[in-house]
């Protein structure tokens, strides 16, 4: 481990609230119906293959990938396709979604069998068919991420088990309950990606996971555990690469450019599960927690199940929920309705009562510099806020706000509760447009 780099880490100590860490995931009852959006990944939405009224079985492909950066979608329950209509995604786009009414059978699709994988090409094809996307949150199609042209480029694959967001313990449960699948996934990567080294990056607030994987790695070649201090956002891709390998991913470059691939630990387990059993990504282990939830627990839910069904399975609410999130409280996305479905990349759903839901009022910036001292990327949110207020896009570009990964440390730590990361988001959009215009202008020059 890169001790000195770790020592210098900027970030924030968030309250952990890992209340469900010791609770193995329980399989949720089959819901009456599921609504499966065609875009649960970064890239082009999938194209529906089924028609209204058609009977589908669990695991059956109901939509195909549309282009390279896309991902197929599979039915998560058996039943009848009730409707295919427009669905408002959290990013504001309208995409089709397929609603399946359950027949209560959970009948498995007969065509599911382990894929034949003998080489890298077949491995990548299998990944494409599996519908697996990055389950750490981003939802980038895994087949695309692992399409590496030059194998010699890869020095290490970092298996991300940092799970630095408060509350979430679904990756913890993957590591504890499915350690064999995780190890199998690691061996698969060694075989088909010829990854010279596999690093399991785990935050030290999960000592059980660390000792288990240290023991498992003892029997393997070129695999090791990297215990990291529990500091948010330890699991951020660039942060993780810097802290485990000591390498910085330069602006506009990819992890691969510095010889690293980061893959979420649950994604890895899903890859192994698909190769072993042929089961595509149709269900997901999620942490259900928050001050409004009666019985917080880890739940294995079919993709497309409504949040209302998931919360009902957890005993319903003990207080009126005022804010419901996909993901953790630092980067999670608020949900407008409880009818919203569980997505492929959902790792937690949290429901908070009034006290936690209402953001505190913001007061004047006191120039304390905490946002600067705590930014993991060494940005200067207070100055970004000033430049944004002044409408100075050139200054925003010079401040490199485009690098911001929106982890939220600045907004979390601000004693005046300034909306700093929120301003960064707005500024990023302006800088992107500014840089595009600048590039165009330069292209026209003789």
């Amino acid at each position: 481990m890169n001790f000195w780099i770790q020592l210098k880490m900027h970030g924030v100590h968030v309250p952990h609230h890992k209340n469900t860490a010791s609770m193995p995931a329980v399989i949720m009852d089959c819901p009456k119906s599921v609504t499966i959006p065609m875009s649960m990944h970064i890239g082009t939405p999938a194209r529906p293959l089924v028609k209204v009224g058609e009977y589908v079985k669990m695991g059956q492909r109901i939509a195909e990938a549309d282009g390279f950066v896309s991902s197929p979608v599979h039915a998560s329950i058996s039943g009848t396709v009730k409707k295919i209509d427009s669905f408002l995604a959290s990013n504001g786009r309208r995409i089709p979604a397929i609603t399946i009414e359950s027949d209560g059978q959970m009948a498995r699709y007969e065509g599911l069998k382990p894929p034949v994988v003998r080489n890298q090409e077949e491995f990548l094809q299998a990944l494409t068919d599996s519908g697996i996307v990055g389950l750490g949150g981003a939802g980038f199609p895994t087949s695309v991420k692992l399409t590496v042209k030059n194998m010699a480029q890869v020095d290490a694959v970092i298996v991300n088990g940092a799970e630095c967001e408060p509350y979430i313990t679904s990756d913890t449960r993957t590591m504890l309950d499915q350690s064999k699948l995780v190890m199998e996934g690691a061996r698969i990567l060694q075989k088909y990606l010829r990854a010279p080294k596999i690093l399991f990056a785990i935050e030290d607030n999960k000592p059980q996971c660390i000792s288990l994987f240290e023991e498992l790695c003892r029997h393997e070649d070129a695999m090791e555990v990297c215990s990291l201090p529990s500091m948010y956002p330890q699991g951020g891709e660039k942060v993780l690469i810097y802290h485990t390998m000591g390498r910085l991913v330069p602006e506009g470059k990819l992890p691969l450019d510095v010889g690293a691939i980061v893959i979420n630990v649950t994604t890895l387990a899903s890859i192994a599960r698909y190769l072993k059993y042929g089961l595509p990504l149709v269900r997901k282990c999620i942490t259900v927690d928050g001050s409004a939830v009666k019985e917080p627990k880890n739940v294995v839910a079919p993709i497309g199940a409504s949040l209302a069904d998931v919360f009902d399975f957890c005993g319903g609410f003990k207080a009126e929920p005022r804010k419901v999130l996909y993901g953790g409280p630092m980067m999670g996305i608020t949900v407008p309705e409880l009818s919203e479905p569980i997505l492929k990349n959902t790792n937690a759903v949290l429901a908070f009562a009034e006290a936690e839901a209402t953001p505190p009022a913001s007061t004047s910036c006191i120039r304390c510099g905490r946002c600067i001292a705590h930014c993991p990327l060494r940005l200067m949110p207070a100055e970004v806020e000033d430049a944004y207020a002044a409408g100075d896009v050139a200054a925003l570009a010079a401040l490199k706000v485009n690098l911001c990964m929106e982890c939220g440390c600045c907004s979390f730590i601000c004693p005046a509760h300034r909306p700093l990361v929120q301003t960064n988001r707005l500024a990023k959009a302006q800088v992107a447009a500014y840089l595009r215009a600048k590039a165009q202008k330069e292209a026209v020059k003789p």
Binding site: V12, V14, P15, P166, K238, L248, V249, P250, E251, G252, E320, P321, R322, K323, V324, P329, M330, M331, G332, I333, T334, V335, P336, E337, L338, F352, E356, A357, T358, P359, T363, S364, C365, I366, R367, C368, G369, I372, A373, L377, R378, L379, M380, A382, E383, A397, K400, L403, E406, G408, S411, F412, I413, C414, P415, A416, H417, V421, R425, L435
Partner: protein
């Protein structure tokens, strides 16, 4: 059931501006206790009047211009305390109140309130009083019957033999402003601020350390340099005024430069200036340079590429 939709994060620190300012007030309390012990109850009266005037001035100004009243963030309390700490205990109470009003209204509120002032309000309040009422501002009460000058005045006069012992100077048994005399009490406050994470150590340590190192060759001995850092308002300024958020750089390297600059000007004024004390002028001068220090010491983003 109506759900609230907002962008992340959805979790916030409990350390708000009011909590930070309250911590500064707490850190200032040992020095207040020392002042009462050394100078008697009048010290408390001066502090009470200055704080009351500061809070009232802030309240009335904000009411008058129709902006949000911010007296509950404790920042006016801090300003009032710091101004009082920079006054001799014998100061007429109306002058203390006037200093607070100037600090709050002219230096802080007219520039936009908390976080927007470029100069430290308490320091400018002190300087205005010092230039307006020079006599009252340099009339010292001494804890013992024999002393007749402050350590800084003695050192300027070259009368090192009349200096109180280092230990007495550290405890605060010497002439000076009511809140600046006890190094011990101020250091207790410093440790509290560090433990609570209110300030970083950089400015204070660099400032005090650099004054020590610069004074040593000028005075010819380490004990002279030690007397320099235990005299006047150096510790009060280095711990509580040079670490003010709004008027000092927000980067670590900027804070180091700020501390160095303060030390340089403090020593220059003390050795060759026309006043015995230079801390407030040094900090004010560096306050003016702060925007430039902040700009010169911008952090380099990880992975950032020049374009």
């Amino acid at each position: 059931m109506k759900l609230l939709v907002s962008s992340s994060p959805h979790m916030y620190t409990r350390t708000t501006t009011a909590v930070l300012m309250r911590d500064v007030v707490i850190a200032l309390l040992p020095a207040l206790a020392a002042a009462v012990w050394i100078f008697g109850w009048r010290a408390l009266a001066v502090v009470a009047v200055a704080v009351a005037a500061a809070v009232a001035a802030e309240y009335l100004f904000e009411k008058a211009v129709g902006s949000e009243v911010t007296i509950s963030d404790f920042s006016a309390v801090v300003t009032g305390m710091l101004l009082a700490y920079n006054l001799p205990v014998t100061i007429p109470l109306w002058q203390a109140a006037l200093g607070s009003i100037i600090a709050i209204v002219v230096v802080k509120q007219l520039f936009g309130g908390i976080g927007r002032n470029f100069a430290n309000p308490a320091i400018v309040g002190r300087i205005v009083l010092f230039l307006s009422f020079s006599k009252a501002m340099t009339t010292w009460q001494f804890p013992d019957a024999v002393s007749s000058a402050t350590p800084l005045a003695l050192m300027r006069a070259g009368d090192l033999s009349s200096l109180p012992s280092i230990w007495n100077m550290f405890l605060g048994l010497k002439g000076g402003c009511l809140g600046e005399v006890s190094g011990l009490a101020l250091l207790i406050g410093f440790v509290y601020l560090l433990l609570r994470g209110v300030i970083s150590w950089h400015t204070t340590v660099v400032y005090v350390g650099a004054v020590f190192l610069l004074s040593w060759p000028l005075g010819g001995s380490a004990s002279y340099a030690l007397c320099q850092i235990l005299s006047g308002g150096l510790l009060l300024g280095a711990i509580f005024m040079a670490t003010d958020y709004a008027t000092t750089p927000s980067t670590t390297f900027g804070r180091v430069l700020f501390g160095l600059g303060c030390a340089l000007f403090t020593v220059l004024i003390r050795q060759w200036g026309s006043y015995a004390e230079g801390v407030s002028f040094a900090i004010l001068f560096m306050n003016i340079l702060t925007p430039y220090l902040s700009r010169w010491t911008r952090s380099k983003p990880l992975g950032g590429v020049a374009k």
